[in-house]
């Protein structure tokens, strides 16, 4: 870990120097994953314990499972979008395919069918979507799928070159006959002829030669496309394209529409209005239809549900760690992929830093591993705070047994790990039910998203939170149809969760539902005090609370409740009981440390690196990274043995916007010579002075390289500071 921190420090420096942080950030993440998945890294730990290999394998297996789950989810979500896109493609160029001579078609201007995919600002996630999209189109619609990025297309020439080579490349891919391949290679060598005219001739030749037989055997659906498969051009990041390039390209393409069935797919990160802004003259050549992908927040919610709110995977995050990941998502990047990467880092950190994470696997495996635990490992179990708490509650004999008898300990642990598993099963069911109840309340007192509720429950007893009681009060005012909808959701939660937990609760829920149903049928007339139930205004909290008070009064004065109200209270009491019984936070559980990752700080340090701060720390307090005792200084003074750049840096902090280089140099010399304690009058002093001067110049140019100062013409013998304050 030490090593990694140092590397990070170094990279941060790099970050500041060039402001191309994004690029470096990727590099840096790449580095992390490189470090992460070399098993050596694991062995490098404090003690070369015998289980490090096993731990590493467990870690990898777990990660693979979670990763494929996440990928499956992504595919499932994409499918929706892709289906809509396919539908759009089926509609487009209908007349082209039919070679229509219809009047309407003749007279109308030819427009390029354009699908505008609004994908959201989380640009890092788009790549996966486009990858899936390309594969899907190639499999089902057309071999001619081209994806272009703005940075590859600085002008029309490059754009067409890329386009043509990709379209014809697709052709090579699917052909196996060698002579034709050669032909294509020859073509691609004549780079200069990549004009649209050339492409159109090529397309005619290819589709005619194939005649009625299908161009690609793989492609199954939509037989109408077989004769003339469309050319789908995906422009991944429309915002970054220059107006001129795009506009010219669209004008050119629109002139070939009667020969080439071109379809555009525009990847939009912001809003579709950008099309109008970018293409004021060319929109009239487009027939635009909007397709929207799932919002990234919903995607995250689904991901959490699949990966964390489940007992499928033993690994869990504690409240702080989860919060760090969620905050990066909400505050910084909206990127689900980055969230997954963060989770990956958490898993790795957990398995690396927690030796007992060896028990973080599925239940049958845990049992086996418990039995093969070594003496040392048993000892570290005994030292787990959660285990110690557990032991303290035992009778004295049992206490002694758990601390001395290995077999007894293992038996206990087996039971405890089972109960931890059951705890989680119950926890998630109750959590989801509670969320079903509270997420329909006005103003969402316990959070709108389940992740908010989950974090709250991880942190402390939710029923002791301020918002809990008022939320229950509100629940006691729900109208019947709302309540029934919620109950249906809860039944669904029970149905979809594995195992038969929580005794008869599922049955009870169904009973309630049946009763409400019968109430509905029997008494339409009995709506004495039922009038105010209906008027539950969702938006206005103030009115709600007022009517709540009124209700209370009403209830105390007039004890007579309707049947429905009695039942409703029972339902709310039931959920309240469930919450109090099952929703206590996990750190109360024995063996909590084994499956919960608690290193929020590490996550923050690595995922939300602060390059400026790291750089400042390195220069201002070199001891922090170098760990050289000589550099340790109590007060804020500069140790004169510090690296030259640190001394120069420290001195420059005291200056204002403009720095007098002469003064700076003198101060530098003073500090440095104080260390060497040379006699100023000695003969060698001249030479030493020159050396010091050279050192100063080097330090200053290093600072310039790091972006702290730059030369200025405002004043002679001065340089300008580029930073302000302490960092």
């Amino acid at each position: 870990m030490q090593k990694m921190a140092a590397t990070l420090g170094f990279l941060s420096v790099d970050c500041l120097v060039s402001f191309h942080i994004k690029k470096n950030y990727r590099k840096f993440q790449g580095l992390i994953s490189f470090l992460i998945f070399s098993a050596d890294y694991f062995n490098e730990g404090e003690s070369l314990s015998e289980d490090s290999k096993l731990r590493f394998d467990t870690c990898q297996l777990l990660w693979q499972q979670m990763k494929s789950e996440a990928e499956e989810l992504q595919e499932e979500l994409n499918k929706n979008l892709f289906d809509k896109l396919i539908e759009f493609l089926e509609k487009s160029h209908l007349e082209f395919r039919k070679k229509s001579t219809n009047w309407n078609y003749q007279i109308k201007s030819r427009e390029i069918p354009t699908a505008a995919l609004v994908l959201g600002v989380n640009v890092t996630d788009h790549d996966l979507t486009f990858k899936g999209l390309t594969a899907m189109l190639r499999d089902t619609i057309t071999p001619y799928v081209v994806s272009l990025q703005a940075k590859e297309c600085p002008d029309v020439k490059h754009l067409l070159q890329k386009l043509a080579s990709q379209v014809m490349g697709c052709h090579i891919d699917m052909e196996s006959t060698e002579e034709e391949e050669e032909e294509c290679v020859q073509l691609s060598q004549k780079k200069m002829h990549y004009s649209m005219a050339f492409l159109s001739t090529w397309y005619r030749n290819v589709t005619q030669k194939k005649g009625s037989e299908s161009v690609n055997k793989k492609i199954t659906s939509s037989s109408q496309w077989k004769k003339s498969p469309p050319i789908v051009i995906i422009l991944k990041d429309i915002e970054s394209f220059s107006t001129k390039v795009l506009q010219d390209f669209i004008i050119i393409s629109s002139q070939y529409l009667h020969q080439l069935p071109i379809v555009l797919v525009l990847g939009i990160a912001t809003s579709p209005i950008i099309i109008h802004r970018l293409l004021p003259h060319a929109v009239s050549f487009l027939c635009i239809e909007l397709l929207q992908s799932l919002s990234c927040k919903e995607h995250l919610a689904k991901l959490l549900d699949k990966l964390l709110l489940t007992t499928r995977f033993p690994f869990k995050l504690n409240e702080k760690a989860l919060q760090v990941l969620i905050n990066i998502f909400l505050y910084h990047d909206f990127s689900v992929q980055n969230f997954i990467k963060g989770l990956q880092l958490a898993i790795l950190e957990h398995f690396y830093s927690q030796p007992l994470s060896i028990l973080c696997c599925d239940l049958p495996e845990v049992k086996r591993r418990i039995h093969s635990l070594s003496e040392d490992q048993c000892e570290s179990i005994r030292r787990l705070p959660s285990f110690m708490r557990y032991v303290e509650k035992q009778t004295p004999e049992k206490q002694v047994a758990s601390l001395t008898n290995e077999r007894f300990l293992k038996g206990r642990m087996e039971r405890k790990s089972l109960s931890l598993h059951i705890y989680h099963e119950n926890f998630f069911i109750v959590l989801k039910c509670l969320h079903a109840f509270t997420s329909s309340l006005p103003k969402y007192p316990l959070g709108r998203q389940i992740r908010e509720l989950y974090c709250a429950c991880l942190e402390k007893n939710i029923w002791e939170s301020q918002e809990y009681e008022p939320a229950l009060q509100l629940l006691r005012m729900l109208a019947k149809d709302e309540l029934m909808a919620i109950l249906h959701k809860c039944v669904e939660v029970f149905r979809s969760s594995p195992g038969k937990q929580l005794g008869s609760t599922a049955e009870k829920l169904k009973e309630f539902l049946a009763q409400f149903q019968s109430l509905e049928e029997s008494n339409e007339e009995e709506n004495g005090s039922g009038s105010q139930q209906k008027g539950l205004q969702k938006t206005d909290l103030y009115h709600l609370q007022k009517s709540l008070l009124e209700m209370k009064e009403l209830r105390s004065s007039n004890k007579k409740q309707t049947k429905f109200e009695v039942q409703r209270d029972k339902v709310v009491d039931m959920i309240d009981n469930l919450v109090r019984k099952y929703l206590f936070p996990p750190d109360t559980q024995t063996l909590y440390e084994v499956v919960y990752f608690t290193g929020a700080h590490t996550l923050r340090e690595h995922l939300n690196a602060a390059p400026r701060i790291a750089l400042h720390t390195a220069l201002n307090n070199p001891y922090h990274y170098l760990k050289n005792q000589a550099l340790k200084s109590e007060d804020d003074s500069i140790p004169n043995v510090a690296p030259d750049i640190c001394i120069a840096y420290k001195l420059h902090l005291e200056c204002s916007r403009l720095i007098n280089v002469v003064d700076w140099s003198e101060a530098f010399a003073t500090v440095v010579t104080a260390a060497e304690e040379t006699d100023p009058n000695s003969t060698a002093s001249e030479e030493i002075k020159e050396i010091i001067h050279a050192r100063f110049i080097r330090a200053v140019s290093e600072l310039e390289l790091l972006g702290f100062i730059k030369p200025t013409k405002q004043k002679t013998d001065h340089v300008a500071r580029l930073t302000w304050g302490g960092c």
């Binding site: 191309h20 942080i21 007279i107 109308k108 600002v121 005219a197 919002s295 505050y331 400026r612």
Partner: protein, 435 residues
């Protein structure tokens, strides 16, 4: 082939002067002709039909497609090389690198094709794009006749006047010709000309009359009008098809179509919804309630800090730097209001547009408007870069400038206000212009 006057309408005078210029087949014609006129004034169409019906040897090249001069020259040569060839005869591709080669090859090809005894016409459509190519190209094309010593005429079609082409070193002057815009009468005549076969010409002409009544004030583009006519014609016919009216019930038909066209003006015409969506709406006869136009999707969801960065950038772009102290320092002491407000600066900032600001100023403002403490993490920097790629901010100056990059905020006040509202930030209070 139909006689020319039956297919080209309302351009009699232009056609006859062109014919006069061209003269007999083997006569030398004017070396270069420059034709200009607005979009859809029929330049391409007239030229194409004219050359085709008179069966003159010609090539037509669209300069948009020719992003290098090489493609342009090769297209001309290869099209020439295909003259009088039947489809399946094989012609090899002619490569041409420079204008020198072009002159040489041009002579060779015209000879081979047997057209060296008559005028060959080279039409350069969208000639505006020539101005972006090598500087020698335009002057050379203007005097191609002289350079090749062949009977050739180059015709330029452009939307821009000749004066904007003329190089300041001077050049051979082409014969300049103007295609004026069509009058409403012309439009009526041309549009009515292509009536669908199922309906009488009069019926369609009446429809065009209504269409022009609605659209003529906003759009005179023949192509666009034709497109709109085709899109809405089925709606016009609806009462007739249903048997509710006959073809001569003009009032009834008008009442049916007029509101429909007005709606079209606000939707399809502006490309708020696409033509296919519009046609589908017509077919299903549904209201466009659930179908929202493009501009209804203006909202952008951004990460929390990105919102604040954008707000900070907006403030930095529209507030004078010296007012930052007043807005963002908790204890700014006594800054006299009269002193602080300078008359000439008042309300002018929004009219002048966004001003560039350095990164540090953006960060300083950001830290003071976000209530929690934000560290200058790499994420914050990458968010700034992301906003640049999303075109919500722009980088001023060089892309690769390392020290002190400067930005501008490009979003509108409405947009930033909508963003600010979602984070409960009253941006108006912080804007100098609205003080």
């Amino acid at each position: 082939m139909l006689p020319l006057e039956n297919v080209v309408l309302c351009r009699e005078s232009q056609v006859s002067s062109l014919m006069a210029l061209f003269g007999e087949r083997h006569h030398f014609s004017f070396p270069s002709i420059f034709i200009y006129g607005h979009k859809a004034s029929g330049k391409t169409y007239v030229m194409k039909t004219l050359l085709k019906t008179s069966e003159l040897p010609h090539v037509i090249v669209n300069c948009v497609e020719c992003f290098t001069s090489r493609i342009l020259l090769e297209q001309i040569l290869n099209q020439l090389n295909c003259l009088h060839y039947s489809e399946d005869e094989y012609t090899s591709h002619i490569a041409c690198d420079s204008f020198n080669d072009f002159v040489r090859l041009f002579k060779k090809v015209t000879q081979e094709r047997g057209v060296d005894d008559q005028t060959v016409y080279i039409v350069l459509d969208k000639a505006e794009y020539l101005r972006e190519m090598e500087a020698n190209l335009l002057p050379a094309f203007l005097r191609l006749q002289e350079l090749t010593n062949r009977n050739v005429t180059v015709i330029f079609l452009s939307q821009i006047v000749w004066e904007k082409f003329r190089p300041n070193t001077g050049c051979f002057e082409p014969f300049v010709m103007y295609f004026p815009d069509y009058s409403i009468g012309h439009l009526q005549k041309i549009l009515s000309h292509d009536h669908p076969p199922e309906y009488s010409a009069d019926f369609y002409a009446a429809y065009i009359n209504i269409l022009l009544g609605v659209f003529y004030t906003v759009c005179r583009d023949l192509k666009e009008l034709r497109h709109l006519a085709a899109l809405n014609f089925s709606k016009y016919c609806e009462p007739v098809v249903k048997g509710e009216a006959n073809e001569r019930d003009t009032r009834k038909l008008w009442r049916n179509i007029e509101p429909h066209l007005k709606k079209a003006m606000q939707t399809v015409y502006l490309r708020e919804i696409s033509s296919s969506q519009w046609e589908k709406l017509q077919q299903d006869d549904t209201e466009m309630g659930q179908l929202k136009g493009l501009s209804a999707h203006a909202h952008i969801e951004l990460p929390y800090y990105s919102k604040f960065i954008l707000i900070a950038a907006y403030l930095a772009s529209y507030n004078p730097t010296r007012t930052d102290k007043r807005f963002f320092l908790k204890h700014h002491g006594k800054i006299k209001k009269t002193n602080f407000m300078k008359k000439h600066e008042k309300t002018s900032n929004h009219l002048l547009g966004p001003k560039p600001f350095p990164l540090d100023r953006l960060l300083a403002i950001l830290y003071s408007i976000v209530d929690s403490r934000v560290a200058p993490t790499s994420n914050i920097f990458s968010q700034i870069t992301s906003l640049v790629t999303l075109q919500l901010l722009t980088l001023v100056g060089h892309e690769d400038q390392l020290d002190g990059p400067k930005y501008k905020c490009t979003v509108s006040l409405d947009f930033v206000r909508a963003i600010a509202r979602t984070v409960n930030f009253d941006i108006i209070k912080y804007l100098y212009d609205f003080l």
